[in-house]
Symmetry: C2
Subunit: 297 residues, 2 copies
């Protein structure tokens, strides 16, 4: 399941409540395109801002609208007690896998992170993807820790954060990880701007923000990269550079949410307060960039 294109849709909000109609349309768009899995309520899906009830209900809806495509959901929370409750909820909601970032308030030690995954792993009957996202968790995984964690029963995949920018160094890191993690654990790449490079470097799956809104294009890019067609991959990726520049400035969530607002597939504002989509000149400029990327839709 943790392979190919895993598409992460927004969870559009209106006044703190999930805009179910828009959310379901996003899921149906992904199901129609035939993505490999749907990461409902990932970081892009604002999981961390929703109540337990909202997370349960929205995950159920995603599973139902996904028409058989595996749904993954995040079970992260500052409180480990809550993580365990969310793990139970996710399984009841019918997910095929869960995603867990080491979210915390106090910065965690490596031992603490290991014991968190170990405890959660014991409660799961679906596979878990380890979510390495230093921007939101401030926790820096080492490869040694990832490899140790991969031996826990429930672990099915690792969603890598930063890869080395150097192409050979990236390939070498992925090669060494794949050689040392437990059998069957896939290696995924996140951070759209580095994902083409990550797949070319040997990653098995793209955990994709772009794919949550533009699954057809993201599938083409994923397929080209997975068959190691470097020239087509480069061609499909390089034209997106202007979008990645916005990501770097504002974070991928604010950018993809603004794009969704511009396209009219979600209402505005769609992010959980106080997060803001782009406004004024920045928004106008993004709209122009988007026009030059008309092939995405």
């Amino acid at each position: 399941m943790f392979k190919g294109l895993s598409a992460f849709p927004l969870t559009p909000l209106v006044g703190g409540e999930v805009d179910e109609k828009s959310f379901l349309a996003l899921i149906e768009n992904l199901a129609g395109a035939g993505v490999d899995s749907i990461g409902a309520l990932g970081s892009t899906g604002s999981y961390a801002y929703l109540t337990r009830e909202q997370r349960f209900h929205t995950t159920q809806q995603a599973v139902s609208a996904a028409a058989g495509i595996p749904v993954i959901t995040s079970i992260g929370s500052v409180s480990a007690e809550e993580v365990l409750r969310l793990a139970e909820d996710a399984q009841k909601a019918g997910v095929s896998g869960v995603l867990l970032a080491p979210v915390s308030y106090q910065p965690l030690t490596h031992d603490e992170v290991f014991s968190l995954y170990e405890r959660v792993s014991r409660e799961l009957s679906v596979p878990l993807c380890i979510y390495d996202n230093v921007a939101t968790t401030r926790f820096e995984f080492t490869d040694e820790l990832l490899i140790a964690l991969s031996r826990l029963n429930a672990i099915g995949s690792i969603k890598l954060g930063d890869l080395p920018a150097d192409r050979d160094a990236a390939r070498e890191r992925v090669r060494r990880l794949k050689a040392r993690v437990s059998d069957g654990v896939t290696i995924g790449i996140s951070g759209d701007a580095q994902s083409a490079a990550g797949l070319i470097a040997g990653c098995d799956v793209w955990y994709s923000v772009l794919g949550g809104l533009f699954p057809h294009y993201a599938l083409r890019l994923t397929e080209a990269a997975l068959r190691q067609d470097e020239s087509e991959t480069h061609e499909l990726d390089v034209v997106l550079a202007p979008l990645w520049a916005y990501y770097r400035r504002h974070g991928s969530l604010r950018v993809i949410a603004t794009v969704a607002e511009i396209l009219g597939v979600v209402s505005m504002p769609c992010l959980p307060f106080p997060l803001q989509t782009l406004s004024g000149k920045e928004r106008d400029a993004l709209q122009q960039t988007l026009e030059s990327l008309h092939f995405l839709a």
Copy 2:
């Protein structure tokens, strides 16, 4: 209220539930010592790991056990909707003030942080202390933002994070802040290791982890520093250097929680899973250090 010694006690946990008996004994110790205020459910009080119900109930208990000493509580949460609910709860529980750090999952922009405090400020009838804690929030306040926020109606104090290590630079920063923040807004220092220096530099209040367990000693230090007795302040502070070295290595929470376990005032383990107190040789060494600091108790 936001002046002198504000003491931050632990919220000891047993199996995820608040150990009420130990918690109340900690509060009574602070009330008996006559601290200026009690920061119940601060970072040291593990607020971020507790449910809304636990926070409400524990805050009520703190107010009741504080015997008239003002109680401050944290209303921080990843979700701003939850922050608003917690603000209401805290006021119902009878607090005299609230503390708010810009907790988030996605790193926040300055505009977003401003709009968060502005919205929360509108809902409050008790004063709010802005909590600058980059280690837990990753948000870096500028002095310009702090000054702009100080003009919001509800703001009563600013709990500073890092001060310049250079003595003159620290004094100059505090002087400029005090000259520019709204009238009546006090400037406080946190981070025990720099607190003596912060008070000597002109801060009005010590938001103190040490004071949550050792209020008598922390009061002596606070009083010496507030009357600008540099020599006595230095004498009282310098002997604590070994303790600050543990703070730097493990974070103040793990250290003060270990100290409380060693003293037997809380059960072990007292922190929310997966946070761990010190163990093995590190714990033995801290116990020895503590013996040399017998004057604290």
